[in-house]
């Protein structure tokens, strides 16, 4: 059973980035290598406009299960854009042991 809508079958290999919470996304970012982050980014970033065009066809609350999983994937793309585009490392530089936890986030 594919995780994403059929037109995004090429992203299935990155389905483990389709995560519901910021805590999961951030943890996966920190436990990934830069090569892994880059590979995900290189696959998903060029599809971003098509993903959003597809998801925008219905209201957020009416998204199908597969579309919701695709939306989660874009949240992960946003999260890894910092290591890939700016930091060149998974962690925020000089952030050491500092942590900032999400205690409230949108349901979808």
């Amino acid at each position: 059973m594919p995780v994403f809508p059929a037109e995004f079958a090429d992203l299935e290999e990155f389905a483990d980035w389709s995560l519901a919470t910021e805590a999961q996304r951030y943890a996966q970012r920190l436990s990934s290598s830069m090569a892994e982050l880059q590979a995900f980014y290189d696959a998903a970033f060029p599809r971003l406009e098509e993903i959003l065009a597809s998801l925008d066809r219905c209201e957020l609350k009416d998204l199908s299960e597969q579309s919701t999983r695709l939306l989660w994937l874009t949240y992960s793309l946003v999260n890894v854009s910092f290591p890939v585009e700016v930091w060149r490392q998974p962690r925020v530089p000089d952030s050491g042991a500092a942590a900032m936890d999400v205690v409230v986030e949108p349901a979808i």
Partner: protein, 434 residues
Amino acid sequence: MAHFEKPAEGSWTEHYPELGTGPVSYEDSISPEHYELERKAIFAKTWLNVGRVEQLPRAGSYFTRELAAAGTSVVLVRGADAQVRAFHNICRHRGNKLVWNDYPRDEVSGTCRQFTCKYHGWRYDLQGECTFVQQEPEFFDLDKTQYGLVPVQCEVWEGFVWVNVDPDNTVSVADYLGPLGAGLVGYPFDKMTQVYKYRAQVGSNWKLFIDAFAEFYHAPVLHARQAVADESRKLQGIGYEALAYKVEGPHGMVSSWGGMAPPKDINIVKPIEQKLRSGLFGPWDRPDIEGLDPLPPGLNPAGSRSWGIDSFVFFPNFMLLVWAPGWYLTYHYWPTSFHTHIFEGTLYFVPPQNATERVRQELAAVTFKEYSLQDGNTLEATQMMLESRAVTTFPLNDQEILLRQLHMTARQYVDAYQNDLGIPFTPASVPAVS
């Protein structure tokens, strides 16, 4: 050379002569004794913002707040009469904490018909009245009406919920917030209900994190890598100047330009910002709601066309940031000791209509976290070295005027408290300048 006009006195700081211009002592941030005085003089006396009315949507909705600095835990609840009330979170029988789950020190929220103490089952209604005592005849002349929850002063201002644990307080929230608060009345806070809230344990005095967020002088340096390399060098060369500052009683504000939403040249921001039209300053396109044009008179006081953000520092520990693209952010700094505090950053957006708007907000929220992690860790490094006392006073520039005001105000509250007790100024009442 100034890029933006300053007051006739030549600087923002000298426009408010009570602030002085000399180096400032940071003894107030490294002394355990001084912190104990701040708890009594400030956190047990002033209005404290504890949240928003949207957290209490219906009768029976409640949440607790741990106010370590004020020495209590409070429970906020919406009554059957729709009124929002606050109570000390303590059972009148034998002092057990009334509302908590699993971990006594953790904050909780939910909806209930009444509060029931876990210990002996005493019950209280949503208005705080004691309604049930287990084995009541075993007690001696017990009059339940005398055993309601202990109220805490509570007010709602523009949808923000405030408490003041000083029962003798006679000042309303609106009066306490003064002209800076009045200038915000009418902003559509109530339409911005899509919430992201972050929390961090920070290894510094509470005032040091306010210092960090009450000046943007650090931004071109500490956050240099947030912009592309050429732009970053240019920004550092220019430095930072605000559009305007205001000091009103214990509160202050800084108004700042914000050329990044959208940027003049799209190539200065990183690729995902270009593609999503969003970033640190929020989604570039304003939501289509009423109340953003015209803005309330307290916003963009310089009337600048390049206005980007206004940051309000409401003493002691609440900051409110209103961004030009139509969203807002709050900061809370909850002291837990003289050199630790809990930081909360909460972002409020108009609920997104579609996936594109939702992902734009996600980028703004993620960007906020990346910046704040840098800020937070820097503070622990600052606290550590301040505590060495190798250097005790520090020069503050004109763009750091709100820091000067914050530390002065905090010292004044402590001095006034000691005065009221008849205690002469001691080394704990820290000198303002060297």
